[in-house]
Symmetry: C2
Subunit: 279 residues, 2 copies
DNA sequence: TAGTGGTCTAGACCACACT
DNA sequence: GTGTGGTCTAGACCACTAA
């Protein structure tokens, strides 16, 4: 099989489960850090189905006893498993095996308002017109002289779960319907879908960050937790102008532990990309 | 002023200090973890230009002295800065301020061979035909009866830097030129660009993982370091067949600390997005 | 109230990079 | 050598959860 990275998940590995205390001993002289050996060992048992999804995982103190290592080592190992999206830690209760990551498509405010899928809710936090800073203006390909942009911050909920922090900038003259539509949303109404709008490609980039003190709690994470940070430029045109131009620049922040970010304009391909099932 | 933590032991609080750079003191009663306060404080000084790029950053022991915290706290703070891509740690030497993340476009093997940009090198590790497993076959939209795929693993170098681990699967009958071309590469020759090939969109997804013991060193990272894991399906057609079909399914692994992954067909972007820290 | 994960301390030893 | 980051230990107190 391909990379020794990220073995497939949920592989019903064959027999001989060595249930509780029979774990492979860690090798203190191998040069491989104990936390990494431990993460590997736990991952193997987990993939072998040693613990039921949604149910409990061994306690840190239990692992300490079983493997004979300090909690520092254990916490680093668990951190790897958390970042890999296979367990979650709940303060005060314990660790739990997680369902696979949800696959979320990256999109901006305009796309959301244009499609208005049923499972999506926008919790608008701020909406106003302002003058863009240099970077935003450059992304939006705006003329040198300052012209206002519609700046919206919101939390995108999918299936009711807060999923993405959105920070969106759009040239006010190109999408004049945007601010009123968002204000309707804020007021609890459902805005009409914009007519005369043809969206073309969106350019996206992704990188790793960590949540700050504000962002984390918004998505049910903590400050310092890993996050996927996306930048998106949505191109499109109205009937009036024939040229496709940038209509929106958006900042998108997702939890890195439980979301897999999809990035193409189309292509559902009929099947989910299975979480970490890396062929 | 007794601290809530560690009341029993006398911590040598150096009131005469607040050394050198007058850093904001950490607040042990704020409820915000010290490592997070420390990361924020260091990030602020860094953004303010307190340390030159490429040059040295304070030593862990120096930070310990200045802020009066243990190395555990410091290492967690530094880890946040590393994952945010603003510093690198070099074993035995110290910490260094990094240049901005490189923006790398996500692409697969076929695209690489089709474009053959000057700054790109492919170090092929394995190349062979084999039968796909179920997941790969599904992504490639292959017929139920088993037909061979060309399976290539390689390291993509950009500007000479090992940048991406590639694991690529293509239906052999749709891209028959692929295996010979890759074998030419392996032999040190430069294969011709494929003719009769029209690439259309690629579907990509991204998630967070960590490097294994094999993958990390390939890209100059260590086992356990954070990685961006991409799945890509490249669509396209040859002149012969009019329908655009999946030509390749690829696994892409990048270092999460120094790369920003671009995912659309366009958008050079010319500039870094400011303030990668989440609100 | 007992147990959990979250944070923190004050040590220690190592491999590695410098000089 | 000396100093660095990388790892690990054996404690501790906290806030939280659940019985």
């Amino acid at each position: 099989m391909p990379h020794p990275i990220n073995r497939g998940r949920g592989r019903p590995k064959q027999s001989s489960d060595v249930p509780l205390t029979g774990s492979r001993a860690l090798d203190r002289n191998s040069g491989v850090p104990l936390y990494f050996q431990l993460a590997t060992a736990l991952r193997e048992k987990l993939d072998a189905g040693a613990w039921e999804p949604g149910s409990s995982f061994p306690t840190e103190r239990e692992i300490a006893e079983e493997f004979g290592v300090s909690r520092t080592v254990i916490r680093r190992a668990l951190e790897l498993l958390v970042n890999d999206g296979v367990i979650v830690l709940k303060k005060g209760s314990g660790a739990f095996v997680t369902p696979p990551r949800r696959q979320i498509e990256a999109f901006g405010l305009i796309k959301a308002l244009s499609d208005q899928p049923d499972n999506l809710t926008l919790a608008v936090r701020t909406a106003r017109e302002e003058l863009p800073d240099a970077a935003v203006a450059r992304f939006l390909d705006m003329s040198p002289q300052p012209r206002p942009v519609t700046h919206v911050t919101a939390v995108i909920h999918i299936e009711g779960n807060p999923t993405c922090l959105l920070d969106s900038y759009s040239p006010a003259n190109r999408v004049p319907w945007l601010l009123p539509a968002v204000q309707e949303l804020q007021a609890g109404a459902k805005p009409p879908k914009p007519s005369e709008l043809i969206l073309s490609r969106a350019a996206v980039s992704v990188e790793l960050t960590f949540f700050g003190r504000w962002g984390g709690p918004q998505l049910g994470a903590s400050a310092g937790d890993p996050a996927l940070l996306g930048h998106l430029v949505q191109f499109g045109r109205t009937k009036a102008s024939e040229q496709a131009r940038p209509l929106e620049f958006a900042h998108l922040v997702y939890r890195a532990d439980n979301t897999q970010l999809a990035l193409s304009g189309a292509e559902p391909s009929a099947s989910q990309v299975p979480g970490s099932q890396t062929p």
